[in-house]
Symmetry: C2
Amino acid sequence: MILEAAVLNVKPGQEGVFERAMRAAKPLIAATPGFIGIEVRRCLERPNAYLLLVRWEKLEDHTVGFRQSGRYQKWREALHHFYEPFPVVEHYEESFLGE
Amino acid sequence: MILEAAVLNVKPGQEGVFERAMRAAKPLIAATPGFIGIEVRRCLERPNAYLLLVRWEKLEDHTVGFRQSGRYQKWREALHHFYEPFPVVEHYEESFLGE
């Protein structure tokens, strides 16, 4: 399993609209083969920041399977205009501490 | 549940020593009341970076219960010298998307 992670900085004042747009867009990413699960968590210290965590079976399920799909074009249109600056997305291995 | 999250940038070349030190230090944090679980995941794009995720029952279990304990002093001595720059640690609510 690979974990995609990014801190999403949402333009201040747009948090409520962003959360509704993310809820509506979730099926676009969830329909991707290899998708396991998504969490979007609001930050306590910076209320316009969110932690995006997406679990994938393997890296290419995200980088190829999702990003080269038509669903990703819709995801971008629905969500990317909320972010400033645009987030850095990285991927992480399984925890070396185990469960 | 509250999620503590930080990207740990480990001094290049010290990754193996860091992973052993983190394994040895895990019981220091795990003994804290309110501790639920810890993951430390290595980054695919930047192999000297790790994502630390710690689940706590509530914020104060981390900020007071752990950070004001003697075990935190040992944790700092065991781990903080690996990090450059020193990580920004933030806390996140439950996912608004549910499970």
